[in-house]
């Protein structure tokens, strides 16, 4: 693999995926920073990873719980942190015209 170089267009594409609106100075800085960090990450290419599992082992098998309702919080209590509500629902700008 070639040494990672992240262009400003790459940064803009990823920012769209991440739902971040970056200004031009940020795009420029991030292209440099991400290229440098990926340079560090590419040291991983020195390793032979043939046959190594990419599924992390865990200390104990997955635990299952009964499928029952529990910990019911009061709606008004949970919605107190919302920027805009109509009493019952969260309000957002119009999604469909």
């Amino acid at each position: 693999m070639t040494h990672a170089s992240i262009s400003q267009d790459d940064v803009k594409h990823v920012a769209k995926l991440a739902r971040l609106e970056l200004d031009d100075a940020e795009v420029q800085q991030l292209a440099t920073d991400l290229s440098n960090i990926l340079g560090l990450v590419e040291t991983l290419n020195e390793l032979d990873l043939e046959g190594v599992s990419d599924t992390p082992q865990t200390s104990q098998p997955a635990l299952y719980r009964a499928d029952e309702q529990r910990h019911v919080y009061d709606r008004a209590h949970l919605m107190r942190n919302a920027p805009e509500v109509d009493g019952q629902f969260f309000r957002v700008p119009k999604i469909l015209d």
Partner: protein
């Protein structure tokens, strides 16, 4: 600056309260006075919780008055990192995006602290969303290292470390995803333990890297640390990754000196060029202390450990990019006022609400998970994580524990590393492998460098070996006398005096 022990520990204070010599409310008042006197210089707290703390202290005094036995550590004031929920108290994560967020429920650790009646005095500063090694990524304030206020306390749980090391409170909780408790403990002459992954419930801890995050305690003595872990550890049906094994009596294990202990020295961390010579000398000193107790030493190799930082910055940021997708300005937190449509509501809210380092990590994680790059970055990083886990397993077939530095250097100057993210990331070279492997790591004070700055070392053990780490840490604490270390200037002011 030299260290000498302050008279009271958390356990001593608890005993004095239990015997009626000290009231919990008087201790709490003293604590808030100490905070008012000291925290202006340290900037460890983001906000206080005086009413809740007062209620808990009253509850303790009532229990004493009516002759009820007190649970472990009852009455001892504690501070919580501001990414751990306390119902009715703000959890800002040191981020603008959660500036006015009031936790609607208690974290499981908070429920346990309440059951044990420890007054929660306030919430402490951190790197925004626990992303950083110096506490400089907070949107609100710069916390200072009490041993030298021109230096960082370490991160990300820097506020929690700073308030314990400046004698404002004897105990605090942080969270450790890549060293965020062990590094500040080392920089501030504290004891800190990152437990085995799953030992402490993560319910109510704001998520950063979910497969790595673990709530972790700070204290000034091994026994205080052991007692606090005992209080917060245990199975929790609200966290599917919480371990179901019984929690041992860590406090009792502190008094069982290790017998025929086999200790491994990690070749790759000892040979590193960047290791400060004073730290090497502190390791030699600790080796002598343990040899005096009959321990034997051998060098072990963790061949993949130098790839840990690279693996971590893909795994952790990938998880972060997913975890932080929830901050969209809809259900809670900041909302960009001027957005005309839903897409710009998301993008502008996140642009205004997140700081530079958080954006950098979201971008890196999103990139690593994006189409065409997943196998080359995320898949590879996960495989390397597996190799690092296996390195530790192999090492623990030969030795009981590992002794290694907590960081390659002592506390650095504020501003020294902010411009270079890669250099900042490499600060965590000795702590990150422990989170990737899910094993416990305990950071303990092991002396001071030529500038008088604390040196911290780590003890690492296999999964579930916290008890062994506490017993070795206690033996080292007794041998070194590095117990309840406080800078001279803070000895007279705080709660421990």
């Amino acid at each position: 600056m030299t260290a000498s022990p302050a008279p009271s520990t958390a356990l001593d204070l608890h005993k004095q309260i239990q015997s009626g010599q000290l009231s919990a409310q008087a201790l709490l008042e003293q604590t808030f006075n100490a905070i008012k006197a000291v925290d202006g210089d340290i900037d460890g707290f983001l906000h206080l919780a005086e009413n809740q703390a007062q209620q808990t202290a009253e509850q303790v005094d009532q229990a004493v008055a009516t002759g009820q036995p007190l649970p472990l550590l009852a009455g001892v004031p504690i501070a919580l990192k501001d990414n751990i929920h306390v119902q009715g108290v703000r959890s800002t994560c040191a981020s603008r995006i959660l500036e006015n967020f009031v936790a609607p429920f208690d974290a499981t650790v908070t429920t346990k602290l309440n059951a044990h009646m420890l007054p929660i005095v306030g919430k402490t500063n951190l790197d925004e969303f626990a992303m950083g090694s110096s506490c400089e990524n907070s949107a609100y304030k710069l916390s200072k290292n009490p041993w030298d206020t021109s230096r960082v306390p370490g991160g990300s749980s820097g506020g929690s470390a700073a308030v314990v090391a400046s004698n404002q409170v004897p105990l605090a909780l942080g969270s450790d995803t890549g060293g965020s408790v062990r590094l500040p403990a080392a920089f501030c002459a504290l004891y800190g333990i990152k437990p085995t992954y799953g030992r402490v419930s993560r319910y109510g801890l704001v998520a950063y890297g979910s497969s790595l995050d673990q709530i972790s305690p700070f204290a000034r003595t091994t026994k205080d640390l052991a007692a606090l872990l005992k209080v917060i550890a245990g199975f929790d049906p609200m966290d599917s990754t919480a371990l179901s094994d019984e929690v041992p009596d860590y406090l009792a294990l502190c008094d069982q000196p290790p017998k025929q202990l086999k200790v491994g020295l990690v070749k790759e961390l000892m040979d590193s060029d960047g290791l400060q010579p004073d730290i090497k000398a502190a390791i030699d000193q600790s080796i002598q202390h343990l040899e005096g107790l009959g321990a034997t030493f051998q060098t072990v190799s963790l061949p993949h450990i130098n790839y840990a930082v690279a693996s971590y910055y893909i795994v952790a940021t990938a998880e972060a990019s997913s975890n932080l997708a929830r901050y969209d300005g809809v259900r809670y937190g900041l909302r960009a006022e001027e957005a005309q449509d839903i897409y710009h509501l998301f993008t502008q809210t996140r642009e205004q609400g997140f700081g530079t380092e958080v954006k950098r990590r979201i971008m890196l994680g999103t990139f690593a998970l994006s189409s065409g790059y997943y196998d080359a970055y995320y898949g590879k990083a996960q495989k390397v994580r597996q190799l690092i886990r296996q390195d530790f397993e192999t090492a623990f077939e030969q030795v009981d524990i590992l002794l290694c530095p907590a960081a390659p250097f002592t506390a650095f100057k504020l501003g020294e590393k902010v411009a270079d993210p890669v250099q900042m990331y490499l600060t965590d070279i000795a702590t990150i492998p422990v989170n990737l492997a899910g094993i416990p790591g305990l950071s303990f004070p092991a002396g001071f460098d030529s500038s008088g700055l604390p040196i911290g070392l780590q003890l690492l053990g296999p999964h579930g070996a916290e008890g062994t780490l506490f017993s070795v840490s206690q033996a080292l604490e007794t041998a070194s006398g590095l117990s309840n270390c406080l800078p001279d200037v803070y000895k007279q002011q705080g709660v421990a005096v």
